[in-house]
Every structure is written in C-alpha cells, then in structure tokens.
Amino acid sequence: MVIRALQDTTRDQVSSAGTHHRLADAEPGPALERDVPLWLQGSDTAVAALAGRLADGWMVDLEEVGLEGLATLNEVLDHAATDAGRDAREVRRSVTLARGDAADISALVALVVDHGVSSLVLRVGTDDVTTLRTFLDDVAPAIREGAERALPQGALSSRPVRRADARARRRPGIAYNEVPEELAGTAVEPGDAAFGKVRSTYLRGGDPGLVLRPRTVAEVASAVGFAREHMHLPLGIRSGGHGISGRSTNDGGLVIDVGGLDDITVLDEAARLVRIGAGARWRDVARALQPHGWALSSGDYGGVGVGGLATAGGIGFLSRKHGLTIDHLRAVDMVLADGTVVRASATENTELFWAARGAGANFGVAVAFEFVVDEVDEVGWAQLAFQAPDPAAYLEAFGRVVADTPRETTPFLILGQGVAQLMAMVDSSDPGVIVSQLQPFAEIAPLVQQQVVIAPYAAVMNMFPETAHNGRGEPVSRSAFTREITPGFASASADLIRSGASHWYQIRTVGGAVADIAPDATAYTHRDANFALAVMGSNAQRLDRWFEPVRRHASGLYLSFESDRHPDRIADAFPPATLDRLRRLKAKLDPHNLFQDNFNILPAHDHTRSAT
C-alpha cells in the first residue's frame, strides 16, 4: 500500500495507516515512466491471497509446492482477486523451475495451459551456460508453440491486463479492449503510471481518455484507423506537446502522440537534404545539424516538436534571412484520414504539398519531413534589456529600426510594463557585422542589461533545459500580423500592456526571405507581414477587450499562437481564395472531417461529423 501510494502522482500528498508501514502526508513520486509490476513471492495461502488482492504477479517455487499445491494456491489467489473486485488475469503467475524440470516440455506446456502460468523462471548455476542456452533456444519456443496450439487463439496476448483500479479511471465511449494489438503495449490510459507525463501540454491541462503512441508509420495508420471508429470524440495529434493553442490534448478524447517517430537522417550531404521524424524536437534537430555546419530555422524554443511547427509555419530566429521552416520543405509523408500513407512534394500530391505548408493539421498526421537546410556558421546571439516606460514610443522606434535592419538579423521583442527584452539572432560570425546590426537597437532606449555572444545555433536552441509538460487550465493566446508598427497599433498595444490583461506580449519579426515567397505558394499566406504578434493572458474576455483594438490595426493570425476557437479565426488565418482551395482539398482527403480539432477547415461539401 505504501509503494502504490507513493506512485500515485495524481495526488499532492499521500497517507497510509498500517500496522507495520505508515505514510503521513508524504510527497508521492517521482512519476513512473511505466507501471512497474509488483510481484509477490511465497508458497503459503496468505501470500497467494494477498497477491490476489493487491499484486500484479505471484511467484512460487514449483519444487516447494508441487503441482497440486500450485493448483490449490492458484485457486486461493483467484478467489481473493474476484472477492476484491479484480479480474484474476490481472495477476501473472510465475513458477521457478529446478534444472531437471526443463527437460519435460509437455509438463511445462501443461503448466501454461492448465495452471495459467505465464512466466517460467529456471534456477540455474551461473556457470551452466549450456542449460541456459537450451532453455532459451529450444525449450522456451517449444513451450510457446505447444501452448499456442492448446489454447484458443489470442489467449497468449501480450496486451497488458490493467488492474481494476486503473480500469476504473477509463472514460466512456472508448473501445479500450479493441485498441489494435501493435498499439496496446505503448498506449497510455488515465489509470496508468505514465499518464501524468502525457496528459497535458506545455500550457494546457489535459485529461484525454487514451493516448496512442505509435512507433512506426504503420502504427500511425493503425491509430488513425482506431480514431475513425471514434468520430464522436475529440482527437489530438501530438508531436512535442508545446503548442500554445493546446490542441494536442483534450478532455476524454483520443491523442495520437507521434513523439516516438523522431529519427533525423541526412539523405543527401551535397544537397543538404535532411529527413526528420515528426516527433523530433527542434533542440535535437539543431544538435544533429550542427556538426555539418547547418541549421534549420524553427521557433524560439528548442523543446518544440517538429510536426506541429512544420505544418503551421515556423517563425524562428533565422526567418528574415532564411525564411520560414515550411519554406525549406521538399516533401512530407502523411497518414491521411483513410489510413493511406502518401508523400507530398512539388511533383507528387502537389495540392496536399501546398496545404501541408500552413494548414497541415487538417489533412492528416504528418510523420516525416524532408527539408533542405541552410549553411549556418556560428551566429551572433544578443539578449538586451531596456527601460521602456513608454511602450508605444518604444514600439514605434523598434518598428523603424527593424525596417532598416538587414535580413541577417531577426529580433524578437518581449514588451512588458516598463521593460523591454530583445532577443536577436544575427546570421554572421563576424563581430563587426553583429555589432553594427545590433547597435541601432541598443539606441532605442536606455539599456539596463546586455549580453552578446557568438555561438552555434544549436546552443541557442538548447539554452533552456528540457521541462516537463505540466500545463494546467486553458491557455489564452491571441495572434495577429502587421506590415508595419503604425502609431495606432503602437498605442493600442501600449493600452493592452498597461491594462495588465496580458502577461506576455511578444513581437517576432518576419519579412525578408519570408516575403520572397508568393502568398499563394503555400497555405501560409501572410507573406507581406513584417511583424507577428503573440499575446497571452489568463482571462479570455478581459484579454479580448484590450486585444480587439490591436487587432483592428493588424490582420491575419498565426495558427500556432491562437487559442480562440471561434470560427471567425479561420477566416483570419486564411484569405477567402486560400480557404476555398483548402476546403475543396479537405472534401477530397478528409470528407468526414476526422481532423477537425485544430482550427477546423470544413470540407467543401457538407459532410460534418456528428456533434455529439
């Protein structure tokens, strides 16, 4: 009871009042990566009954109890389990065999078939390699074969049998027992130890009913198939789980977590062509590319997953010089709603290739991307802090400086009450270039802190340590683009900052290479914008009251930074011609609207799924 209590990280404190072992308001944890089965060993009825009530396994020495004893104790265990409201299958039976027992295969098969034994442990001297080899190579396969022949098909499933207390936390409407065999071993349910680590995203608290964790493309297809059988439930697709909008988790629905598909492979050294799994993190991508002298602009934080960002845009620290992440995409592999796996590129499934770059989440589960990455030497990395008592004046000056700044430099600004923090990357390892491009920013307002270093791009992506995703509640985030920082935009922004309705006001600069691409070349259309604004608050109504005036001086939105689920936001994200084109493709590829939980583009035909 003490061990189980300390593993229950859903609670803040745990107590257990026993005669021999006690806990009083102890801190549970650390959270387990997986349920560690608790096996009891003993040959008396009291232990067998205890195992039936509480344990995940029971071990007994066959020599000690004999076959008859085993049958009797098994019965005791079964009764105790049933009396405790458990399924007797929850407790795995393990017998320890003497060396001589390993010779009689039919007797061993009988242990499995007649006594429900599913673990056979051979007592063997450390020097007796021959016996061990024979047991592994000949006896074990023969037992499996014999048992499979004698038992009904599927009886020897590797599907985990969950404890009754874990099953009690299941959510309605999910066919837990029909999770495909290949996904069952890695799937996480609300009662599992690993649930605490997969339920929430960076900012959003989640409580999904089932998290599927495919390890291969075929398993992703199988997970999508399972999701098709659950059209009545929310469906989140998770790569890194960092997304500000929080759409990669939900309440009571399904999550397909592709974090396991995280391979990073160089396909063509000369062409700088790299294949990256959707589940990789940008910090790992940066680390993998650094030895080649390469980098791929992503966002501003290395913990973000590849899949979410690379289907939405990718506004990062090298954007002005090298463009968006999606501008480097040459091909993407996606699992579509019907389970087929397709490759989209400039020559295959071209319409999907267009849509995947800015609206990918509506069309399937991206599993791998092929990017042409950039040659990037060490970069200049600046963190400047300013006094900014007049946010409007600071913003206008910032806008003017950016307009005159060469595209090597991509600054991100965080503006607060009285202070401004600027993070800027200069794609140059020449101190003279770095200083000359940063100097105009340093003159905007009194500097209170400055740090400028020359570092690899990977060092900037790995600046912050990996943190757990323990978001709680609903994130409230708003997004907009603007070509320039007009006096109206600046003054509405200043009002917003002073209101206290927002605790986070960030402007990322775009333009430059981003604007070199035609607006209709990708589903991301905001090519003429020079500034992307992201604002976060804790109360949506209050934030909107102050954000609406800012929005009137801006246009568009970036999906990754918008949490508002109002249908109007779709029209902000996609201009009418783009939206029509997306809706036609949606009707073709996902007519029943399986992928509708992340800024839904409705199919052009009226095939909406039931809203129960």
Binding site: V2, L6, T9, H21, R22, L23, A24, D25, A26, E27, P28, G29, P30, P465, E466, T467, A468
Partner: protein, 320 residues
C-alpha cells in the same frame, strides 16, 4: 580518500590563532539530485570527474519526490565516472537502516574500485521523515542513534573481527549479524554537525566533519569554536585532532569584480579559501554547483591555486 597527511605546522599568514591539521586539500562539488531532467545530476558528476575534482556529493532527502533516491543515484553516477570519489552529503540516517546502509556502501565501494565515502547526518526535516514512515527523534535521541549507527556500520565493515556483530542500542538492536563485506578502501565516515554534543561525537567516532557555510550562524569564525569541541573530544577519546578531516560546503559565483566572499574572480576565491584552510584547518572544499562552467572553473583555476598558496604558507611548496 583518507589520504596521508603532511607533517603540518601551524604557519598561518594572519596573526590570529590558527589551526592547520596538515591534510592535503580536496575539492569537490555538491550537486542537486534533481530527477528532472532525469540525467542532469549524473551528467554533473561526470563533469566534475572529467574536470579532475576529487569528490562529487549529493544531498539525501528521501522524502522529496522531485529528487532521485540518493543511494541509487550514487550507484549510477559511480558507474558513469572513472576517478572521482562520491558521497551523500549527507545520508539521512533515520530513513536508512544502518546495517543495510553499511552493506550498500561496501558493495558500491567494491564495485567502484574504492571511490565511495559515507557522509552521514543525524537527520533533519522530521515531518518529512515521519511522513515517510521513519522515526521522529529529538535532538539528543538522534545523536544517540547516530552513534549507535556508526558502531553498527564499522562493525559490519570489520571483517577482521571474528564472530557475529551485536550492537544493543536504544534505537538499533542488532543481534548476531553477519559481518562483511569489507569495503575496498577505508571508507570515511563524515558527519554533518553544528552543535557541541554532536561535534563531540564527531571527535570520538568520525573520520570527517562536513558542515555547510550557510548554516554557520556567526560566519566563518564559528569554525574555530566548533573545531575546539571536536579536538577536545578527540583527545579525550585517545585520538588525534587530525584524525578528523574538516570539510566545508561552500557556495559562490565567479565575477569579474570582487563583491564579497566567493563572489569574484578565481584568484580572489583562491586567496579566500587558502586563508580558510590555514586559519581553520579546513582541507575539503565542496562547492554547490549544478553548473558545468562553475564546476570547471573551480577545478581548473581555483583548486590548483589554493593548493599552491597553502603549500607555500606551509613551507612545503613545490614549484615546478
């Protein structure tokens, strides 16, 4: 790590009364055993090992869920390092039964090639201890329990003695326990202590003393007072004061300009630590660090400079 001693003489640089027990100097780090990121503490041990430090230590708070279990962490870190010695700083006795602790330490010392030391304390944070099912002990009781535990631990390690081990104490009642295994090297028992009564226990029974600078209420000069409790008790027990190595857990940051004790350039740190060594006989400096650069600078720029300053003052300088 109970390395040989110099023939120390009291040749402090200041005019105050100074103590120098003449030990060679040891330098180490004090790493937070955080379990997130899961390998961070181990990586910091590897950093300390590669930087050439003598010692890496971890707090032991078994009631804190965001920390690794320190005994398990020590085992994992020992397997990942090559040369450095490792210790808890300090082991929480009330949650670690002493006879089993002695075997665990001996096992790890054998597996690591003689690189484990036993930092140990009487216990603290009694709500946490009791919450985990451990005993809640008053100050006198906890010291009494520690003394019993040290007798048990030494008894388990002492395979030279024939016959089973029995220690009949108020807190631990060991009857007829098998002895052994003996550790690979003489494992130091280093006690975290501040008050006179437990300092006297250090003088009687321990191999080292492991205080933290931030718990010295009157600052560094308090070390002199505490030393005298240890020294007197050592004499009374027929031991030499220098049988007990004096450590100090320290904290600091490097800065271009000096701003205070251990807040300045490495040369300033070296002078300050050399003075502590020569004034209070401190011969082991353990820096709280979860930061690779801090650890590396401490190892590369502070440790050799302190050694040189102290050797010069002792008149045993080797200029090579």
């Amino acid at each position: 790590m109970n390395t040989g001693t110099n023939s120390g003489t009291n040749t402090g640089a200041s005019t105050d009364v100074t103590i120098d027990y003449g030990h060679d100097l040891l330098f180490g780090t004090f790493v937070t055993p955080t379990n997130h990121p899961v390998h961070q503490a181990v990586e910091q041990a590897v950093v300390a090992d590669r930087a050439g430090l003598d010692l890496v230590t971890f707090q032991d708070h078994p009631y804190v869920a965001r920390f690794h279990d320190t005994s398990t962490l020590l085992a994992y870190a020992a397997a990942r390092t090559e040369r450095i010695h490792l210790s808890a700083n300090v082991t929480n006795l009330p949650l670690r039964p002493p006879a089993v602790l002695a075997r665990a330490i001996a096992t790890l010392d054998l597996l690591s090639g003689g690189r484990i030391e036993l930092g140990i304390g009487a216990g603290a944070f009694w709500d946490g201890v009791a919450g985990m099912g451990g005993p809640r002990r008053g100050p006198g009781e906890s010291i009494e329990a520690l003394e019993e535990a040290i007798a048990i631990i030494r008894g388990v390690w002492n395979t030279g003695e024939s016959g089973a081990l029995s220690v009949r104490g108020q807190h631990y009642d060991v009857r007829g326990a098998k002895r052994g295994p003996a550790p690979a090297h003489p494992v130091g028992i280093w006690v975290g202590a501040y008050k006179p009564r437990i300092l006297r226990l250090v003088g009687r029974a321990a191999d080292g003393w492991l205080p933290s600078i931030q718990y010295l209420q009157k600052g560094l000069p308090e070390l002199a007072e505490m030393n005298s409790h240890i020294d007197e008790s050592a004499h009374a027990a027929g031991r030499e004061p220098r049988d007990i190595r004096r450590f100090l857990n320290i904290g600091g940051q490097f800065a271009a300009q000096g701003r205070g004790f251990l807040q300045g350039p490495p040369s300033q740190w070296a002078e300050e630590l050399a003075e502590v060594a020569l004034t209070y006989g401190t011969s082991g400096f353990i820096l709280a660090s979860d930061d690779t650069a801090l650890t590396q600078t401490f190892a590369a720029e502070v440790a050799p400079a302190v050694r040189e300053l102290v050797a010069d003052a002792r008149g045993t300088g080797r200029h090579e």
